[in-house]
Structure formats: structure tokens, C-alpha cells
Amino acid sequence: MRSEEKLFLRMVSFILKGGIFIFLFMNVISYLFLGIDPYFSRLIRYYSLFVLIITPLLRILGLGVGFLIIGEKRYSLYSFLVFLIVISGLIL
């Protein structure tokens, strides 16, 4: 495996791990606020799910950029196409 490819796969892995950590962190914060401001606590928990849900979407965007950088335009195009398909599902 080329070094640029290893780097971009590491970036993809970072995006996936980042999404999970942010989700868990937001939930910890929400439970800390449970006794203080229940409405704010529920709001954080609600949006933490949104962060987790969009993690794969950010992953595919990262793949698109990564494939473009290493010169694999075909797979970059597929990645951006998948991104557009998912976004259009949300808009419909």
C-alpha cells in the first residue's frame, strides 16, 4: 500500500472514531445537565444522535477527497455520487 493511501485511510479512520467520541461526549454532557436543565439535556442528546448518524456521510466525503488526492478520480466520483444520493434522500 502506498504511503499517501495509508495516510488517507488513517484520515477515514479518524473521522469514524471522531464521530463516535463526539457522540459519547455529548451524551455524557447531557446526563450531567439532566438535573440542572432537562430541556437542554434532551436537546444535546437529540443532536448527539444527529452527529452519530452523519458520521458515515462525513466518511464518504473524506473518501472522495482522499481518492482525488491519490489520483483515483473514478472512485472519487463514486464517493461524491454516494454523498449526493444520501443528501437527496434527506431533502425529499
Binding site: S13, F23, I85
Partner: protein
């Protein structure tokens, strides 16, 4: 929805088991999560599907984050199959939203039977049966259970894309990841080794679940409390399961869970007609 302590323990424990299955077998575990939430928590099937999809995203992200770096995941094949998989997923989600919940529950229960059979058949295959190195693009990965670098080629990608559409439909319609179709398709059609097939499936199912989950989250079907504790269990199970995947064989687990799926299917059918 407020949860009691024993309900939280059930969710985390069950999520842990599902996380192990998911990471070892390349599936999201929706086939177990949805019936569990309906039978144990009495959830409406559409909300159970929404929670299942979010849990699958967690499993997929956790497992894929490790396997991508290990070189087990074929990201190129994954991206290619995701094109049709996400289309199927979105199409099926809109159908699912408009179907009567009882009808959906019966369809789900009947769908589990061929799923159980597919798992049982998969448990009879040897790990080395489908490793070839002729034709197409060559890929490599190190397999510690075989103690060697394995090379393989991917063939019949267009046919696999066709099946991926239906795998995506499973995701949107029933809250499954689609791995139950994707893993055999990659293994049998594309001639990809089993470990790469399960890793790549884990990588892909997160996105097909994301496509459906976004729609369901927008419509308010996702229950934050139940989702969080299920995801917590799933994440711990996935991390544990990844250690098993890298070193073990799948056949015993596949056999055990094919039996469990069969029992779950009959239980769900019984619940609808009771």
C-alpha cells in the same frame, strides 16, 4: 421515554452481544435488535427499526475505523457497491414509512427465516475455499489465522452492485444493515475472502443505515434514551468482537446465531397473530 435500571442493563447487555456478532460476521445486528425491542420493550416496529439503524451506524463506524487501517477492508469495492446500496436504502425507507406496522412485522419475521438459513449455510464453508488470484485488480491483506499474506482479485462487480440494491432495501425496510446479503455476495460472486467480505460489509452498512436513519431521525422515529444505551453496549461488543474477528473462524458463531434467528422469527410471527 424514561428507563428503569434493569431496562438499561438489558439494553447494554444485549447491545454488547449484538456488537460481537456484528463485528465478527460483518452484519449490523438489526435482525436481532428489532425483534428484541418489539418483544422486550413493546416498541412500535418503525421506532425499533430507527433505533436499530442508529445502532448499526455505531457498530459499523467502530469496526470500520480499525479494519480500514489494518488493510482488511476493500474501500474501493465498498464505495462502488454503496452507490446502489444507498439508492435501495432510501427507496425502501419511504416504503417502510407508509406500510402498516403489523404487515411490516409479519414481513420482517418471514424475512428472518431465509436469513437464518443463509447463516447456517455460511457456517459450513471453509475460510480458504474462495481465495483465488486470477483476473481483475489484485488486492492484498495479512491474515493472522492463516499466518500469511493473502492475495485476491475482485470479479463480477456489476452483478454485486445489482445485489447491493436489495441489500440496501433490507436496510431501509427492516432496519438491517444489509450485511446478510453483502457478505455472501462479496464472498461468492466477487470471490473476496471471508474476512475481507465481513470487514468491507461492516464498512458499507454504516452508510446505508445512515441514508435511512437520516430520514427517520427527521421524522422523529429515533428514541434517544433507548438508542444511547443500545449503542453503548454495541460499541463495547464491537471492540471485543474485533479481537475475535482478526484471529478466529466464523463458523461456530454463524451456526449458533442461525438457530437464534429461527427461534426469533417464530416468536415474532406468534406475537402478531396472538
Amino acid at each position: 421515554m424514561d428507563l428503569k435500571l434493569y431496562e438499561i442493563i438489558y439494553l447494554i447487555s444485549f447491545g454488547f452481544l449484538v456488537g460481537i456478532i456484528g463485528s465478527v460476521m460483518g452484519i449490523g445486528g438489526g435482525a436481532f435488535i428489532v425483534p428484541f425491542l418489539i418483544i422486550v420493550f413493546g416498541l412500535n416496529i418503525k421506532k425499533a427499526i430507527a433505533v436499530s439503524l442508529v445502532s448499526i451506524i455505531a457498530t459499523s463506524s467502530a469496526v470500520a475505523s480499525v479494519n480500514v487501517e489494518r488493510g482488511l477492508t476493500n474501500v474501493r469495492l465498498g464505495v462502488l457497491l454503496e452507490v446502489t446500496m444507498t439508492l435501495g436504502s432510501i427507496f425502501a425507507t419511504f416504503i417502510m414509512i407508509s406500510i402498516n406496522p403489523s404487515v411490516l412485522q409479519v414481513l420482517f419475521a418471514f424475512m428472518l427465516l431465509p436469513t437464518a438459513l443463509s447463516m447456517y449455510m455460511g457456517s459450513k464453508k471453509r475460510e480458504e475455499d474462495f481465495i483465488i488470484s486470477d483476473g481483475g485488480n489484485k488486492y492484498y491483506y495479512y491474515d493472522p489465522s492463516l499466518k500469511k499474506v493473502v492475495s485476491y482479485c475482485v470479479i463480477k462487480e456489476k452483478l454485486a452492485m445489482f445485489f447491493s440494491f436489495f441489500a440496501g432495501m433490507l436496510s431501509g425496510l427492516f432496519g438491517l444493515g444489509g450485511g446478510l446479503i453483502q457478505v455472501p455476495v462479496m464472498n461468492l460472486v466477487c470471490r473476496v475472502p471471508m474476512k475481507v467480505a465481513t470487514s468491507t460489509s461492516n464498512f458499507m452498512i454504516g452508510l446505508s443505515s445512515c441514508a435511512s436513519a437520516l430520514i427517520l431521525w427527521k421524522k422523529g422515529y429515533v428514541i434517544p434514551n433507548i438508542s444511547f444505551f443500545m449503542i453503548l453496549g454495541v460499541l463495547f461488543g464491537s471492540l471485543f468482537g474485533m479481537k475475535i474477528l482478526y484471529r478466529a473462524k466464523n463458523s461456530t458463531i454463524q451456526f449458533a446465531f442461525s438457530v437464534l434467528l429461527m427461534i426469533t422469527s417464530f416468536k415474532m410471527i406468534y406475537e402478531v397473530f396472538k
